[in-house]
Each structure stands twice: as structure tokens, then as C-alpha cells.
């Protein structure tokens, strides 16, 4: 175990955990946007910053990646932490004013109008969908392309990705609801990636299933016969 001080409290955490994990383990809340416990940390949103207090002075670090080491002293809600989070949320609101998560965070912090306008995107580039597709599904059907303000998530070559299996993990993990799923009786579309799947009716139970893309192995297994 590792012992560290969070918000004046001595807490214990498993060796190898991050400050964020140590805090959550001890019921200390730190807001996050790009973190998901099932995925590799990304450290992009910077909402999880905490104040690291050292003899040389204070500094902000991203708790989702900073290792919880013995003797660390961190503050999760100090003045400089709050100021930093406020600015981050104001910027996100300027770029994605219609995203509900961001509106909620802004309201919590009392931010009404961002002081600049940076567009009207529904994606905050947290990268959760990309990591989920890569790390959990293993499909690598989408990726982050371009840099800076032009950065976006795209399937390769901007056309419907062959690698997409229509599993909808990205839809589930997206915090802003930017990835729309349309499941009608005999088709499924993940519009953002321009992935369309034809669903077929099972001759036995009458339910619909995605085929043949979703179950190529099954098809092979059963030859050309319809299930």
C-alpha cells in the first residue's frame, strides 16, 4: 500500500495506482471527462487537475495519470484547481456549447457565457471512443486525425470504415452523445462514422441480427446456409 495526503487526509491506496484512483477509492470526488476506468488514461481534458504541494512550491498535475506515491500531498479543490477547471470548462463551452455534460459543468461552476466563441461542435475530443474501439473492441475503426484546433475523430480515409463492426461501444462511452445510433427494424447505422449495417430476421425466433458483417465467422462456420 501507498500512503498519501489528499485534502489534508491521510489515505491509503494500492501500489501502482494513480492519484485519481486513490482519491476515488477513498470517496474523494475529482471531476473527469476523458477518463474511463476500463481504458488507458489519456490526460487530455485536464479537468482532473489537482494541486501537488512540494517543498519547491505548488503545481497542477493531471490526477488521472499522476502516480500516487508515498508521501505525496495533493489538494483536489484548492483555489488554483478551481480556477483551472473553470477556465477549462469555459473553453469547452466556447467550443461545444450544446453538449449537455459541458452545460451542466458550466452551470455548476456558475459560468454563463464564454468570453469567446470557438464554434459549435458536439465532440469534445476526449478520445474515449477511439480508445474504446482500440482497446476494448480491438477494431481500430476510428482514430484522431489532424492536429490543434482542426483535430477530429474520423474513420480512415473519411469513408465508412470496413473495420467497424457496429458494436456501438463508442456510442455508449461518448459523454456528449455525439455519436448517433439508429437501429430500425432491419438496419443499423452509426451515422458519425457512416457505418451502415443490414439486419436480418432470424427465421426461427423472428428477432433481428446484424449480418453478415457482424458475424462473418458464423457465416463461414455455417457455409452459405441461412440461419
Amino acid at each position: 500500500m501507498t500512503t498519501l495526503t489528499i485534502d489534508g487526509r491521510q489515505v491509503e491506496a494500492l501500489r501502482g495506482s494513480t492519484v485519481l484512483e486513490a482519491a476515488r477509492e477513498n470517496h474523494i470526488e475529482i471531476p473527469t471527462l476523458c477518463y474511463h476506468e476500463a481504458l488507458e488514461p489519456y490526460a487530455g481534458c485536464r479537468l482532473c487537475v489537482v494541486e501537488l504541494v512540494t517543498p519547491k512550491g505548488s503545481q497542477l498535475v493531471a490526477s488521472c495519470v499522476y502516480a500516487a506515491e508515498d508521501g505525496l500531498v495533493v489538494k483536489t479543490n484548492s483555489g488554483i484547481v478551481q480556477e483551472s477547471r473553470r477556465m477549462t470548462v469555459e473553453l469547452l463551452l466556447a467550443a461545444a456549447p450544446k453538449a449537455k455534460v459541458i452545460q451542466d459543468l458550466a452551470a455548476e461552476m456558475g459560468i454563463e457565457e464564454p468570453r469567446v466563441s470557438l464554434g459549435d461542435s458536439d465532440c469534445i475530443l476526449c478520445g474515449l471512443c477511439v480508445r474504446a474501439c482500440k482497446e476494448i473492441v480491438g477494431a481500430n475503426a476510428i482514430s484522431l486525425v489532424n492536429r490543434g484546433f482542426a483535430k477530429e475523430v474520423k474513420p480512415p480515409f473519411e469513408i465508412g470504415s470496413n473495420a467497424c463492426t457496429g458494436c456501438t461501444t463508442c456510442v455508449l462511452v461518448c459523454p456528449t452523445g455525439a455519436i448517433k445510433l439508429e437501429d430500425v427494424l432491419d438496419s443499423r447505422s452509426v451515422h458519425r462514422w457512416e457505418s451502415d449495417f443490414e439486419a436480418r430476421e432470424c427465421k426461427i425466433c423472428g428477432d433481428h441480427y446484424l449480418a453478415p458483417e457482424f458475424a462473418p465467422d458464423l457465416k463461414e462456420l455455417l457455409g452459405e446456409e441461412e440461419v
Binding site: 497542477l60 499522476y66 477556465m87 490543434g148 483535430k151
Partner: protein
């Protein structure tokens, strides 16, 4: 060539190379750096070869295409020894005269001599040119003395002597101690103590370790690292082998930006030669130490110079930074301890070993030792590469070496540290150049970019220029940098367009502080510097734009108007014919007027007016 197997064999080779040299022999060094090549030094070289052959002088003259001596603006540059005659702006049709007059009798060709802009006098010898006189070339010194594609040129001047000394007389610990005592600090920007970094890399657990030379050099307009790799690649290699020995690595990478083909080529030649001579590879100089180097070409993004992004790029992944810790010295390439240093840092190592830590630590200030190379551009008479001892004041650098500001204009500020450095105003011209002083003033040492501005520069517009660069080069991974720098650009843009609002200065300062404090990597952490430093030193320029909707330097187009003065205009019609927007009217010999609705504020009328009748307000 047979492999050099021992330090004694290296000495023997050096001795025989020295004996071959005749100090009275004529040597022509023609700069073959990228700058001079762009100005035609390749064809000058060919013409020289032909002419020397035609005159049958081949056995009396040595002709050498060298690296860059720094005064690129005046290229192609030529230095003729033994006198040290300095010719600039040499062209092919001047070659016959150079060969028949200067090479035979040492007679100087007047038209090729350098004219000191401040005195108007001609100066014949390189060592007497003010630009060079006040410099202290340590790293650049050999550039004009050797052919970078010849390992024997380097060996003849003592090259690889430091490596030989290290491998035969010093333990790894002693090498690290020497570098530590010399107080060498990283030349890539942050100034981290090199000895300490080496020690951390050495002590990091693991059998496989790497050294990396960072030659990404993404600062626009800066080319210090390029000049060294092009002009003296063996010096950098020698430094890396010594570093490898010190930290316990047997493999090194040089990450060169793809826009530097000549540097990569010279480096590749140097690596091949060093292998042939046994100075890279297995059992170097019989010491049992193995070390080899590979080149990796960079993808060309500014952020790839950041060490974690650089490593990602070497590993074949997207060049995006990752959070530190862990630092590369603990976990770098493929998770192994990796010691990354800048080209100039590596280049300093053989110099320290050769002369000793005490000698080296004599140069510079308490906290910043050795020399620093700057790439000086902007509103300054002598642009080019300048190497001065640490502790030189900005005034000495800009006025003594740089020759001051052209056209009798007044100096306004100097931007130091590249696109994310800061602007230092004239009140601080007597500041010594060292890491701490520059940081205190809101600038930073950076890797050596320096832009000089004069009274005609608008500091808001200047800050906007750099912000535009960094927001474009942001990798976009983290919010403060991706959106924060963009927000700063938006605000700066509206200020320069006369749409600035009350509160904008405060907002910029807040944004700057937050971006600095919460960004993931050094790009974001330093990106606000140009804005924060201009806010600090030139608040009245910002205020003038925001409150009075005026640009004091008359640069921001939406805030200026061109007028023709009634008294001075004599109706010559020059401006009327020049104006691309057809905004000027007036009969011949009568006063002309500018239609403000049509004027696009290009300033052409002002440029062509012979009577200074066009005024800006």
C-alpha cells in the same frame, strides 16, 4: 582505410595528417551550408574546381566546401587562408579573377570585401569584421575549417581525441562528474543540467538503454542545429558515443527533421565513415565498448521536438506528447531508459572532455556556462548565427555583434526563445544572457531563436503572429492548449481589428496563466509567453488598440488610414498609377485624394511617393 584499433593508432593518424599540412599553403573555404547553397555556392565551387585545374594550380591550393560560419545573409561566403581574406556574395563570374589574382599573389578584390555598415569602411579579414570579433565560437569554430564529409579533416584538428581519452582513461562515473562539474545545461530549451540527466539515465534500472540526439529544430527561422549537423557532424557523433559510454547505452538515434536533407546527408556520411574507422561499432578503439547510431527523419511538426512526442515518432506512432513523469531517462524508447539531448548539448561534450570542466566553467555566468548560439533575425543589421559566451548582455549582442537597428530606427524589443519565448524591451537591454535572467523577464533561453523588433513593429500584432503559429502547431490533445491558444488568437485578432473589448487584457492574462499551468506538455506550458510578456511590457499598446481603436506603430490595417498631405502633394500622379484599388483620384499637378472606402491599406502609395506626402494615422 584500415580501422583504428587503439588510441595510439588514432594519434598516429593525426600526426601523419598534421605532417602533411603546410601552414603556408593556400586554402579556400567556401561555405556549403544550406543558406550559401541557396545563393549559388554550388556553382561557385564547380567553377573554382575547373578554373584551378585550368590554371594548373591543383597542387598549390586546397579547396574545401565547408559548413556555415554564420553570416548567411552575406553569402556565398569565402575565406582564403593563410591570410584570412573574407569575400562575400561571391558569384561564378568572379571566380577567374579570384583564382588569377588572390590565389596567386594574395591580391584582394575590392568589390568582394565586406563593408561595415556603421562606418562605411571595407574590411579585408574575417577576424576584423565586428560581427565576428565579439563572438566566441566554440561549437561553430570548426565549421569553416573542415570539409564536413571528411573524417580526416576532423581528426586532423583533434577530432575523436576526447572519445579516445574517455575510453582509455576515464570511467563512466568520471565522465559524468566532468560534465556535471562543467555545469553544462541542456541547449534544447529548458536548460536541465546535463550531468544530472546522464546520472539519472545511468542509474535507471535496465540493461538496454538509448541515447537520442534531438535535431528536430522546429523554431521557425532558427537553424543553429542545422548548421552544426551540416558543418561538423562528427562533433555531435563523438559527443553521443561519449554519452553512450557514460550512461551505459550501446545504441543512439539522431532525430533530424525531414526538411534538413543536407544535414541528414552529411550525418549519414559521417556515420558511415566513423564505422569504417572503427569509431562507431564494436569494440571502439579496443576498449570493449560497442556503440552505433541510426538516423530517424522527423515528420516536420513543431511538437515532435518535444521529447515524449519525439520518442513516439521514433517508435512509429503519432508524434503526440504524453504526460511526464515518467521522464525519458527513466522510461523512454520502448520503455527503456533514454537520454535525450539537443544537438548543441552533444556538441559541447567533446569540448568539455578535451579542455576539462574547469576550463569550460570559466566561460559564462554562475548558473549558465559555456556559449550560446543564437539565430538572429528581424530588424537588425547583421542577421545570421551568432555564438557568444553566456552572460553577454543583450545590448552587446544586438548592437556590437548584430550591428544595431537598420535605417536609424529605434530598438523596441527582442523576442527570445522561439515562438513560445518572450519579448524583452529596451529597459532590460543590459541583462546578461543566462537561463535565470531570461526566465525572470518572462522570456526563456529556448533553443536560440531571436527576433529583433524596432519602433515600426506593433507588439500586439507581433504577439498575434506567434500565437497563430503555436495554436496551429498544438497537437490538440489537451484542452487548455488546443482551445486556450485558439481563444487567445481570437481575442488578439479582434483587438488588432479594432474590435477589442474592455476586459480583453485581463482575459488574455487569465487564459495565459491557466494554459501555462494546466497544459500537458511544454508547448502549451510556454505558448502564452509572447502574449504575457507583451502585456507586461507594452500594456499601453494593447490599451491604444482596445480603447482608442488605434495602432501606435501604424501596422494593424483596420486601425489606420492613409492620407495625402495638401501641402506636400504636387500632383505627380505616381500614387494614382500605383494604387491597385484605384482609390486615388486627382488631376495632374493638383492635390490627390484617397477614397477611404476604396482604400485597401496596402501602403503602396506611401512607398512610391517621392515627396513623403502620404501619411498614416
Amino acid at each position: 582505410m584500415k580501422t583504428i584499433r587503439t588510441p595510439a593508432e588514432l594519434e598516429e593518424l593525426r600526426g601523419s595528417l598534421a605532417r602533411e599540412q603546410d601552414p603556408a599553403r593556400r586554402v579556400i573555404s567556401l561555405c556549403g551550408g544550406t543558406g550559401c547553397r541557396a545563393l549559388g555556392s554550388d556553382s561557385v565551387f564547380e567553377a573554382l574546381v575547373e578554373r584551378i585545374e585550368a590554371e594548373n594550380m591543383g597542387n598549390q591550393v586546397t579547396l574545401r566546401m565547408t559548413g556555415c560560419p554564420g553570416f548567411c545573409e552575406k553569402g556565398p561566403l569565402m575565406v582564403i587562408q593563410p591570410e584570412g581574406i573574407f569575400y562575400h556574395g561571391v558569384k561564378v563570374d568572379e571566380v577567374p579573377e579570384i583564382v588569377t589574382r588572390t590565389l596567386t599573389t594574395g591580391e584582394m578584390i575590392d568589390s568582394l570585401l565586406y563593408v561595415d555598415p556603421s562606418t562605411g569602411e571595407k574590411i579585408a579579414y574575417e577576424r576584423e569584421i565586428p560581427f565576428y570579433k565579439k563572438q566566441r565560437p566554440l561549437l561553430l569554430e570548426m565549421n569553416e575549417k573542415i570539409d564536413p564529409t571528411s573524417i580526416t579533416d576532423y581528426i586532423a584538428l583533434g577530432g575523436y581525441g576526447s572519445l579516445s581519452k574517455v575510453l582509455s582513461q576515464m570511467t563512466a562515473e568520471e565522465v559524468i562528474d566532468e560534465v556535471t562539474e562543467a555545469k553544462l545545461r541542456g541547449r534544447g530549451g529548458a536548460g536541465f543540467p546535463t550531468g544530472l540527466k546522464w546520472r539519472i539515465s545511468r542509474e535507471a534500472p535496465g540493461d538496454t538503454k538509448y541515447v537520442v540526439c534531438n535535431a528536430d529544430e522546429g523554431d521557425p527561422g532558427a537553424f543553429m542545429d542545422r548548421a552544426i549537423l551540416e558543418g561538423n557532424p562528427h562533433r555531435v557523433l563523438e559527443g553521443m558515443v561519449i554519452g553512450g559510454y557514460a550512461i551505459g547505452a550501446d545504441e543512439g538515434f539522431v532525430y533530424v527533421r525531414a526538411e534538413y536533407p543536407l544535414a541528414a546527408k552529411h550525418l549519414a556520411i559521417a556515420i558511415t565513415q566513423a564505422r569504417e574507422y572503427g569509431l562507431l561499432g564494436k569494440d571502439i578503439l579496443g576498449s570493449g565498448f560497442d556503440f552505433d547510431v541510426q538516423i530517424r527523419l522527423g515528420a516536420g511538426a513543431f511538437v515532435c521536438g518535444e521529447e515524449t512526442a519525439l520518442m513516439a515518432s521514433i517508435e512509429g506512432r503519432t508524434g503526440e506528447p504524453r504526460p511526464r513523469p515518467p521522464y525519458p531517462s527513466q522510461s523512454g524508447l520502448w520503455g527503456k531508459p533514454t537520454n535525450i539531448n539537443n544537438v548543441k548539448t552533444w556538441g559541447n561534450v567533446p569540448i568539455i572532455i578535451e579542455n576539462g570542466a574547469d576550463w569550460y566553467a570559466e566561460l559564462g555566468t554562475e548558473g549558465s556556462k559555456g556559449t550560446k548560439i543564437f539565430s538572429v533575425v528581424g530588424k537588425i543589421n547583421n542577421t545570421g548565427l551568432v555564438e557568444v559566451p553566456m552572460g553577454t548582455t543583450l545590448r552587446q549582442l544586438i548592437f556590437d555583434v548584430g550591428g544595431g537597428i537598420p535605417n536609424d530606427k529605434e530598438f523596441k524589443a527582442v523576442q527570445i526563445g522561439g515562438p513560445s519565448g518572450g519579448c524583452i524591451p529596451k529597459e532590460h537591454l543590459d541583462t546578461p544572457i543566462d537561463y535565470e535572467s531570461l526566465t525572470e523577464l518572462g522570456a526563456m533561453m529556448g533553443s536560440g531563436g531571436m527576433v529583433v523588433t524596432d519602433e515600426d513593429t506593433c507588439m500586439v500584432d507581433f504577439a498575434r503572429f506567434f500565437m497563430n503559429f503555436v495554436q496551429d502547431e498544438s497537437c490538440g490533445k489537451c484542452v487548455p492548449c488546443r482551445l486556450g491558444t485558439r481563444a487567445m488568437l481570437e481575442v488578439l485578432t479582434r483587438i488588432t481589428e479594432g474590435k477589442g473589448q474592455e476586459g480583453d487584457m485581463k482575459y488574455l492574462a487569465e487564459l495565459g496563466q491557466q494554459i501555462r499551468a494546466s497544459s500537458l506538455c511544454g508547448l502549451g506550458q510556454t505558448a502564452p509567453n509572447p502574449v504575457l510578456s507583451t502585456l507586461r511590457y507594452f500594456p499601453d499598446e494593447y490599451e491604444a488598440h482596445i480603447r482608442d481603436k488605434s495602432c501606435p506603430a501604424h501596422v494593424c490595417r483596420p486601425l489606420i488610414q492613409y492620407f495625402i498631405d495638401v501641402e506636400t502633394c504636387n500632383g505627380c500622379g505616381r500614387c494614382l498609377r500605383t494604387c491597385p484599388a484605384e482609390a486615388i483620384s486627382g488631376a495632374k499637378k493638383e492635390r490627390h485624394v484617397i477614397d477611404q472606402d476604396l482604400c485597401i491599406k496596402c501602403g503602396s502609395c506611401q512607398e512610391v511617393c517621392r515627396f513623403d506626402a502620404v501619411i498614416v494615422e
